[in-house]
Symmetry: C2
Subunit: 611 residues, 2 copies
């Protein structure tokens, strides 16, 4: 059975030595984050998750969820493990204190989320989606919801979902069929069918709060393919009395089906039928919606979606981490062949396969991705907190821009590379990796969804090039390139190795500039050219982003080694991983740039029917 050891030291190194959150007195709440606060939280969560959640991971895959008499049953042990998690308070680290949460910044709750997903990716989805829905509801809900609903989601007594997709429309919300009809009491009746609803039904909690996209009619009662008519509604599984918060009878929400999937089998993916269900229209996250406006309420959905996009990227890190750990252990134990440099272990009949350079290549590829991505994800979590809690307006604006710019990169680049890393674990196991019993192929099947969730990765790439690059007059991308230069400047004064990495990172930044300049120069065919270049540009951002974080980590590691601080073996490992990234990943920059500049003509040359 696979094992999992929470990477506590890596989290602490990133928080306290690289990001140095405890020194950031320009961000409210950060100076409280001393190691005597953070270490017990991370260790406590890690112990709980390895002890209670991780042993259920393979069981969840074997049993999957079942639909019995219209009710979803989660795998054996899931309900108890979920409740124990909530009772220990791990689910409410990031929620506001006013709602019963611990009010900790996202850098902490995100680290804990990564561990939940490494331990049991299917089970991790229920509280993660609840947190996203709850956070959105806290911003957009009416006062009675903040009083009666949000606290019960924070406590974990109730779960939440996000209901967007319909069978004929995923990304293109204009095509949606679900309809809302206003009632005299200010509520709505919702009718329609939603698919791919994670946690759409289950036996973990007595109620589920669905946040549902539906269309409002025009003054003649007609519905159209107009995005401006799409609004977000709160639709509980069991009705809630707005006055008292008391649970009433079942609402008109029924499970129409339970999907059989490639993986993530312990996470219930439901078809939900809304049949004249009572719903409540939500406001906007800015509290500036004109009450009568038809387009008032998409921002709550985008808030939730952005939360989920980052969570998806972190989920990919989590899958890659646990897959890496198991393949590293296997490579240390499995014996085959001899080291080419001469027998490593003369007394045994063969050497462990970790002596082989190509096995090392796969292990380093996994680990350099995982640690670089984790650093980048925590940096973005810092930025998102800074957006809310930064001291200065300009600081908050910069943080917000960087966070929005990097969200599609984290979602798409991380899920692609995380899948690749999980897959490398199977490769290291050889034929044994293909056998279900050994548990590593589950990581591949589970991780595969992250490339599809919350807008398939191609959509993320389009979001990056078509919306995020030109956003706010290009200031966010300039802020990113400025950060690349700043990190390179610091490293240029370090060792020869790091100065070389700094030059390589600068070149990466220049390649991004060249790609953007090239896209700006394109003419009337601009739309297709953007689309044709989008994936390569996104990958360019990804490799440079991780390069920037690896250089930050390498600078700290080198400085600490020189000062005799920290654990030398731990710090030297960071330098080896940074070297891997600059030696073997950064060279892809030129290929990506050249591809991005190859234009759309070749891709669009065939008639659609010729495929």
């Amino acid at each position: 059975m696979p094992t999992y050891a929470p990477p506590i030291d890596d989290f602490l190194f990133l928080l306290h030595e690289v990001l140095r959150v405890q020194t950031r007195d320009d961000i409210a709440g950060f100076t409280d984050l001393e190691t005597d606060l953070t270490r017990p939280i991370l260790e406590g969560a890690g112990d709980f998750l390895t002890g209670v959640w991780q042993p259920l991971n393979q069981v969840g895959d074997e049993e999957g969820c079942r639909l019995e008499n219209g009710v979803v049953r989660t795998p054996r042990g899931f309900a108890e493990a979920y409740r124990a998690y909530c009772e220990a308070g791990w689910n409410r680290l990031g929620a506001a204190e006013v709602h019963g949460g611990a009010g900790l910044p996202g850098v902490i709750s995100q680290a804990v989320y990564e561990m939940t997903s490494s331990a049991n990716a299917s089970l991790a989805h229920y509280p993660a989606l609840t947190n996203g829905a709850c956070s959105s509801l806290a911003l957009t809900g009416a006062p009675w919801m903040l009083q009666h609903v949000v606290p019960r989601m924070v406590s974990g007594d109730w779960c939440g979902t996000m209901c967007l997709t319909e069978s004929h429309c995923g990304t293109d919300l204009r095509l949606m069929s679900t309809r809302a009809v206003a009632q005299a009491d200010g509520s709505y009746r919702i009718t329609g069918t939603k698919i791919f609803i994670s946690g759409g039904d289950h036996d973990l909690t007595e109620n589920i709060i669905h946040l549902v996209l539906a269309k409002l009619p025009d003054e003649n009662g007609r519905y159209s393919d107009d995005l401006a008519t799409v609004n977000l509604f709160m639709v509980p599984k069991v009705k809630v009395d707005p006055e008292t918060g008391a649970l009433g009878v079942r609402n008109g929400v029924n499970v129409g089906g339970l999907e059989k999937k490639m993986g993530l089998k312990g996470s219930a993916t439901c078809v939900l039928n809304f049949d004249d269900a009572v719903g409540y229209r939500l406001g906007t996250t800015k509290n500036d919606a004109a009450p009568g406006s038809k387009s008032a309420a998409m921002s709550g959905m985008f808030h939730m979606m952005n939360h989920a996009r980052l969570g998806t990227g972190v989920g990919a890190i989590a899958a890659a981490e646990v897959a890496y750990q198991n393949s590293a252990l296997y490579a240390q134990e499995r014996r085959s062949g001899r080291a080419v440099s001469g027998a490593d272990r003369g007394e045994a009949a063969a050497d462990p396969i970790i002596v082989h350079p190509d096995v090392r290549r796969m292990l380093l590829q996994q680990r350099a991705f995982v640690e670089g991505a984790r650093a980048a994800a925590l940096w973005v979590a810092e930025l998102l907190h800074e957006e809310q809690a930064g001291a200065e307006p300009a600081q908050r604006e910069r943080a917000a821009g960087l966070g929005q710019l990097l969200t599609p990169v984290i979602k798409a680049y991380f899920s692609d590379r995380g899948f690749e890393a999980a897959n490398a674990a199977v490769q290291i196991y050889g034929g044994h990796g293909y056998i279900r019993e050994n548990g590593v192929e589950q990581f591949v099947r589970d991780a595969r969804i992250f490339q599809l969730y919350e807008g398939a990765n191609g959509i993320q790439a389009l979001d990056l090039v078509a919306r995020k690059l030109p956003m706010a007059g290009g200031r966010p991308v300039l802020a990113f390139l400025g950060e690349v230069e700043r990190i390179a400047d610091i490293a240029a004064g370090a060792s020869t190795d790091l100065a070389g990495y700094a030059a390589s990172l600068r070149r990466g930044g220049k390649a991004i500039e060249e790609a953007i300049a090239w896209l700006r120069r394109t003419g009337p065919e601009r739309g297709e050219t953007l689309g044709a270049a989008s994936y390569d540009v996104l990958n360019l951002f990804g490799v440079v982003l991780l390069g920037a974080l690896w250089l930050r980590m390498a600078v700290v590691a080198e400085r600490q080694l020189a000062a005799g601080e920290g654990d030398p073996a731990f710090l030297r490992r960071k330098l080896v991983l940074a070297r891997y990234w600059f030696e073997r990943e950064m060279p892809t920059v030129e290929t990506l740039l050249r591809r991005a500049q190859s234009g759309a003509d070749g891709l669009m040359a065939l008639a659609a029917e010729a495929f």
Copy 2:
């Protein structure tokens, strides 16, 4: 349910317009291969496979194989479909006429094999492994086996297997435990446990012929970790009378277990216990074994293994082809968003997703791989036939060398890229791709095994750099580079586009030369440097190999278009696909070269315990 349309026109184009097999009077048997022979075979097999085999593909995945009272039951319909296939004669196209086969060159049987594997990859394994075992037995078996066993494998009445792996040893055969004890009558008794035996037991045929690796003792009856003591034995499931060929009682071969796997669930993967089983030692493929020599009989295994390595590469093409076809159909039908160039279909609410450049990118990536790889695989099938049937000794030697050089490239590069292509199909389907019912995620799970079969891809890379490059004084690699130059020379006289591709292909050839020269210059750390560079060098060969074949195809397509021959739409598509390869795949050459030259130090810097 997924569909499959056999790519008959593509096969015929490759055979008759690109390879021009019918004109090759320097290879015995090739001038018979006119289209009036090849087309009916390919079409007949295609019709049979789409009608009978393909409808069982998803059933096989859902049901899998079952072990009942020590006997493996294949999924519903498999036994009937296997027998119908044999009765129609599709399994014996490539076997020698003297054994009851049709005696057709491998270019034909390989094309049919690809179609079997697209239609039903699990079912395709049973006859494919039988063919490999049968071909090896035909070369290494005693006369009674040629008389009584081989013809029944050719007819498909009996199946065959390859029994190499043990639980503690895959690639490293020195560690094997299975033992053989000589008997007075010249036979042996075999005892040991083999794992991962594809088709190790099943209900398709009344007998199964296992080819089993086992060790012979020294004169004192002791067994050692000496590769020279490993021999190949024929061990039937049901005993066969050497005199009459009559079936006798069950041999000491029992099913110890049936693996639950990630995919390929209709292919029975067995643990086989050999318990004092009667076996017969096989000779060598060269018929030059000294009868008393302990190291006589590994060559039969290598013959079978090389057959299986090529088959694995072709299996990866097959998976990519059927995955591509379904994702292309989906992209033509699924509507979401609008073409950036303006609405493509004004009357509908949204455009089909094939209007989006990034969806095109994925489709072209799949198809450019599939068609380029198919061309390369058929070229190698031609070479392997030329090795046997070429008119001149020098011609045969060149063909043999090229075939051996390219075998690991076809196995590893094709299985990596085939998996990627199958995975791209899931991406094009979006969330619907993750749902089992839609059938595309099965292609990913099924295709994953090809990267592991017959020596994991890292082993193939080591085979390429450590054995195949220096082989025969480097003549095979020079022959390959000469072929690259020859193709570039022909194209240089064509259009500007093709002249550009020719320059890019030449640069690819030079990059291979530079990588090899760099490896030659490395000093005492040579072993680890080879290992560290191996994977990138293999990928370099892969991308250049497909570039060479794309240029061959483009030259033919351009020439035919100019001459007004052939189907213009079909030929223009080849030019678009060639453009894709040169525009978006060949640029990876520089990255691969740079990585190959980055050496082993970075990979080997960490202590094994530090992972």
